[in-house]
């Protein structure tokens, strides 16, 4: 039995592309588990119909705005047993988009070494987070980190996207004062060290 997996990522595509691309993958690799990723309910339901009509075992997971439809071909027992859910459309599994982690950003560049490199890495980091399926729960900004949420920051767009996706963004008040940025905050809210230290003790924090 093959446990080969073929991922068909058709997010951003309208019907009938998700169905047609999934069917092509099935035809090309009849033994493989097909995982089709879509971002709307119509495509989700249509791909489920395809899987069922081809007698595949169909499992659905929701991660954020994306639906992962895992289709295991008939006879592929090993993988079929691993299928997490054969739920129908109406019993979709809820996996929260926001993961449990809290990020503490202590400066406006990423890592040690070259600051120039660190600034460029930071940009990539935020972009990757906006694309990630599991996002942090909160992001706190202290010291020069607060510059990233203030006017003129090159990260505003990505941070706003994270905020829109439900991530709580908050910058340390004294830090903003120190840099004279309290009036220039463009994303998220202003917080204090009580909140941050409490989170440090009680939540899964990653310091960067």
């Amino acid at each position: 039995m093959s446990s080969k997996e073929v991922v068909v990522d058709v997010r951003g595509k309208l019907c009938p592309v998700p169905v047609i691309e999934s069917k092509k993958a099935m035809d090309a690799s009849p033994e493989a588990v097909i995982v089709t990723v879509v971002d709307n309910e119509v495509s989700r339901d249509n791909v489920i119909k395809l899987g069922k009509s081809k007698k595949y075992a169909v499992g659905i997971q929701q991660r954020g705005s994306a639906y992962y439809i895992r289709m295991t071909p008939p006879g592929n027992d090993i993988v079929a047993n691993q299928t997490e859910s054969t739920a129908t459309v109406h019993e979709k599994k809820e996996i929260p988009e926001v993961g449990g982690r809290v990020l503490l950003m202590t400066k406006d560049y990423l890592g040690e070494g070259s600051e120039e490199l660190g600034r460029s890495l930071m940009k990539t980091f935020w972009f990757c987070l906006t694309e990630a399926d599991v996002k942090p729960k909160k992001i706190f900004f202290i010291n020069s980190g607060v510059k990233m949420v203030a006017e003129g920051s090159e990260h505003l767009e990505n941070l706003q996207a994270l905020a829109d996706a439900g991530v709580e963004i908050a910058a340390c008040g004294i830090c903003l004062d120190f840099y004279g940025l309290k009036e220039s905050v463009k994303v998220g809210t202003i917080t204090n060290m009580y909140v941050i230290s409490d989170s440090m003790m009680t939540e899964a924090m990653v310091t960067l």
Binding site: L14, P16, V17, V19, I20, N46, K49, L50, K52, K54
Partner: protein, 342 residues
């Protein structure tokens, strides 16, 4: 060659504004009227009817949409057949048409619009309809359709609200143009998509003219809101319920298979959400829901006629070339559901 459907932003999955959204707008809009208006927007009828004299009334309609097929001439033909259909559905005789055009200039320069307009002319000519004007604007997405005017006797208007308990329901074209248009985009089910294209540019003229010789209690054409949407309008308007027999429904080749594998346009989901009061019998496979809520483009007529005339009417339609005409159900006393599907 230009592939027209690639220009349709909605992915060919029916470009109508959802009925539930539209209803919210129309509730807040004033509709000027006077005593000469015989049929207006309120009854969800297909066209407006305006009395001129005791034996003549104007019947008016318009329709336009984005490309649903790739070939420009075929698109023109379908748009014309679709626009004229509402006149036939009211029992009227279409006289004149005007073109409604929104097109990107590069496509116009490639001769695409010329083909579309000639395609429309093919159909209008065969129906004896004169083109008397039109209007065009530059538009990123191609849109085309027609405004059509006809005449009708004020006492012989076929409304969608006159169906009587015991009536037989007759449908004159196969169901499944939405599913097949979706299949076309995916490049699959060649036979069914070709049949659907042919059906979409076939006028409802022969069907309507044949029915003129019979008793018609209610009539509508089955279009974007699907067999269920238009069936429900007829049931509600007539204060009855209707029963649809899936085993009798005329379909394009492979429609069931295409729907089963998920070639279902987004508008089907919209119709299912918007149209309530539809009950499927437990033994009906769920694929029939996707077929019954499938948005039709240039669909057939749905007629409610006395049961004793039904078989003769179907036979007469077959003789007139309306080969898909089928008795698909009946009208029953109003029950808990507007439409029963079995």
């Amino acid at each position: 060659m230009v592939k027209l459907t690639t220009y349709a932003a909605k992915g060919g999955c029916a470009c109508k504004i959802g009925p539930h959204i539209l209803a919210g707008v129309l509730q807040q809009v004033r509709v000027p009227t006077n005593e000469h208006v015989l049929v207006d927007m309120k009854g969800a009828d297909d066209a407006g009817v305006y009395r001129l004299t005791d034996d003549a009334a104007l019947v008016q309609t318009l329709d336009f949409f984005t490309p649903i097929v790739d070939d420009p001439r075929t698109f023109g033909r379908i748009a014309a057949a679709n626009s004229v259909s509402d006149i036939y559905a009211m029992g009227g005789r279409p006289l004149t048409a005007m073109n409604i055009v929104g097109f990107p200039v590069p496509l116009v320069e490639q001769g695409v619009l010329t083909e579309v307009l000639n395609g429309a002319a093919d159909i209008l000519e065969s129906a004896g309809i004169a083109v008397v004007g039109g209007h065009s604007i530059e538009n990123e997405t191609p849109i085309f359709g027609l405004s059509v005017t006809g005449v009708i006797h004020p006492d012989k208007v076929w409304k969608n609200s006159g169906a009587k308990v015991g009536d037989a329901l007759i449908l004159t074209k196969p169901i499944g143009t939405g599913i097949m248009s979706t299949a076309l985009k995916g490049g699959v089910f060649e036979n069914g998509t070709q049949e659907a294209a042919n059906s979409m540019f076939t006028l409802n003229k022969a069907a309507a003219e044949t029915a003129q010789h019979f008793t018609v209690h209610a009539c509508t054409d089955v279009t974007g809101f699907s067999l269920m949407g238009h069936g429900r309008e007829m049931a509600d308007g007539s204060d009855v319920s209707i029963v649809i027999n899936t085993a009798q429904l005329p379909l394009f080749t492979d429609t069931v298979e295409a729907a089963s594998m998920g070639l279902v346009p987004a508008a089907t989901y919209g119709n299912r959400k918007a149209v309530s009061g539809i009950c499927f019998a437990e033994n009906v496979d769920e694929v029939w829901s996707d077929i019954c809520f499938d948005p039709q483009t240039s669909g057939g007529l749905l007629l409610a006629v006395p049961p004793e005339e039904a078989d003769d009417l179907v036979k007469a339609m077959h003789e007139a070339g309306v080969i898909a005409a089928t008795r698909i159900g009946e009208v029953v006393t109003k029950g808990d559901c507007a439409v029963y599907v079995k």
